[in-house]
Amino acid sequence: MSSSDLAVSVRNLSKRYMLTHQGSRHATLAEHILDRARHPFRRPDTESFWALKDFNFDVHRGEVLGIVGRNGAGKSTLLKILSRITDPTTGTIELFGPVGSLLEIGTGFHPELTGRENIFLNGAILGMRRREILQQFDNIVEFAAVDKFLDTPVKRYSSGMYIRLAFAVAAHLNPEILIIDEVLAVGDVEFQKKCLGKLQEVSNEGRTVLFVSHNMAAVRQLCTSAIHLDHGLLTKHGKTDEVVDHYTTTRPVPPTLRHPNKHGLTLFTLDLLDPTTNIRTHSPIFNHDYMLKAHIHATKELTYASLRLRFFDDSGTKISSIYSPEEGIPPFTMHGDIHFTFHLPRLALFPGRYIISLEIARPNDPMVYLSVEDALLIEVQPAYLNGATWSYEKSHGLVRLANSAQLEFGVHALACSSAKHANP
């Protein structure tokens, strides 16, 4: 590939944030001055934190680059630097064309202004010239389907109309390089489809797109290549499928956190076990029996606690959760070692990858005392059931709902309880 079709070139890019520790943070100017006066030679108690460390990558013209990674991996920081909202600490980015970025839709929308006024204001904020907005005005109104309410203040809009209008303006932004962050996370399914369609259209026009998303299905569908970020490092750059696979299989945080957090809690293990052999597994078989066991240690006493497990699929959608008070364990006092066991008879998750997170909280207390995202990653394996000649596959969906079926014929129905069919 020659450099003449480059769109974005990133070299040695790093971003450092200074974290000020409690005790030396100044909420007010007076405190700051007083503190400086008292301790003129002491350096403020700050710690540096590299949100991005030494990024090098190129994006070619017409490429749709997916940016994937877990929360806190540095995706948002990267987008903010690419869209010039904040400066990098070191390194350079060369942009070979005008850039437009959508980190949020409806930025700058003002509730008191009318739909018409907001189209012009928001368009200008996104970097469109007035002439361009005038040219696109009718298309925007048509796309948003708000023509009757153009001269109504948007505070009187329904939330659906508001989002449609905001997206419509954004969708008519026409820079050579487009940066998009999770814009699709809003609105109903129908609207998300419309947005994905628009994105597809943009990429088909040969424009360069940088796209951050947790929705792996969307990334696979839209992106020609991808990068994977992990704890501020660029860990993989390549074809979309390879990177997405890498992302979903990479064991993120080690589930064994050997250090107690500030509430004195440590998660030693979270394991899926075969109940008959007590052997740990990451590849359970669909419809077999399992146990989920958590071992937590509390160095400080925590009263009235409860435990919550959340199950996510590999696109980040929450499938289900287990909450201890709902499973017959009333809020308990934690001290020393605690073992939880949850029985999962006939595992109902269809084959595929699932991520389980763990949380210790107290009912009616917003504070979370222990939170381990990605505490366990499992890959459910297919299985043959009920004498069917095919196995349950990932394409079936996520959860099996039926577990017995009947077939009846004629007016006087005959129960066929022996012939159980789980219709795929």
Partner: protein, 296 residues
């Protein structure tokens, strides 16, 4: 974990390198106003200004009429307090004509309100637009500029009122009126300078929003708005001249009402001070704007 990367462009020396449209890197310089970029974003400047003007009187019964009423009411109250109750002395015109107190007050207030409105408006402009600052790129200088431009509408309305009042009082305009735009520019420079430093600081320290109105209030009484410089004598008068608004107000009233010409050095001092404020304010703003989005 293996770090794999696609071949980077710099490894293929054969291809001719295009010039990038834009290079992003950490900014280090103390003063770098990119006028070309400001010009590219002129439509946004106008949109933001228009938004502020439209929003100011939305859902008010009298609407734009407030632009007219506000300065008249303020001048009326202040004339009553200072002119009637305190019976302060005001200048006569250079030709010895008596100036009605209300007109004197209103003339001063046109400039003062312009100054105070810009300071009050612009000092809050970053915090007030934090969503924009955190989520979109545009030259940050546009925000203070749009704030100041929004105040031009009020200034224009006040100026028309002033012309009507002065003609009614039968005090003619002289050729020195040509200096008026220059004086307004100086006032705007001083106000913007102070406000840009204040708004940049307020991103980190919200205290600014509390202390600045007090300072502005203090400045109102410390400046010759309700009275003329001739009221002051001795050492306090010299001290008084340190306030750059003193010279500006005398200069302004000379230009509009035809009061005696102030000493030339006060004008030079005022002009230099105002421009210095603008320069310092811009530098502080630019120095701090790199971290606005991280802190706000």
């Amino acid at each position: 974990m293996t770090a794999t990367t696609l071949p980077l462009a710099q490894n293929s020396p054969s291809a001719p390198r295009r010039k990038p449209y834009l290079v992003v890197r950490a900014r280090r310089s103390w003063l770098s106003v990119n006028l070309r970029e400001l010009w590219l974003f002129r439509d946004l400047l106008l949109s933001l200004t228009a938004r502020d003007i439209k929003l100011r009187y939305k859902q008010t019964a009298l609407g734009v009429l407030w632009v007219v009423l506000q300065p008249l009411l303020a001048a009326g109250i202040l004339s009553f307090v200072f002119g009637k109750l305190a019976n302060l002395h005001v200048d006569e015109t250079a030709t010895g004509k008596r100036i009605p107190y209300f007109l004197f007050m209103f003339t001063s207030l046109v400039v003062w309100n312009f100054f105070a409105n810009i300071v009050n408006k612009v000092s809050n402009i970053l915090v007030g637009n934090s969503a924009l600052v955190a989520k979109v790129y545009f030259p940050r200088l546009l925000l203070p500029l749009s704030g100041a431009m929004g105040m031009l509408v009020d200034l224009a309305v006040s100026a028309i009122l002033l012309i009507i009042l002065q003609l009614t009082a039968n005090i003619p305009f002289g050729p020195q009126l040509l200096f008026a735009p220059l004086i307004l520019l100086l006032i705007m420079s001083a106000a913007l300078g102070i406000a840009m430093a204040a708004t940049a600081l307020s991103v980190q320290y919200r205290d600014v929003a509390y202390i600045l109105p007090v300072i502005v209030q203090l400045l109102f009484f410390a400046s010759p708005i309700a009275y003329s410089v001739a009221n002051l004598h001795g050492r306090s008068a010299a001290f008084y001249q340190l306030n750059p608004l003193t010279g500006t107000l005398s200069f302004w009233r000379w230009s509009i009402l035809g009061t005696p010409f102030p000493p030339l050095w006060t004008i030079a001092y005022t002009a230099a001070f105002s421009l210095l404020l603008l320069l310092t304010g811009t530098m502080i703003f630019q120095r701090m704007e790199r971290t606005f989005a991280d802190i706000i």
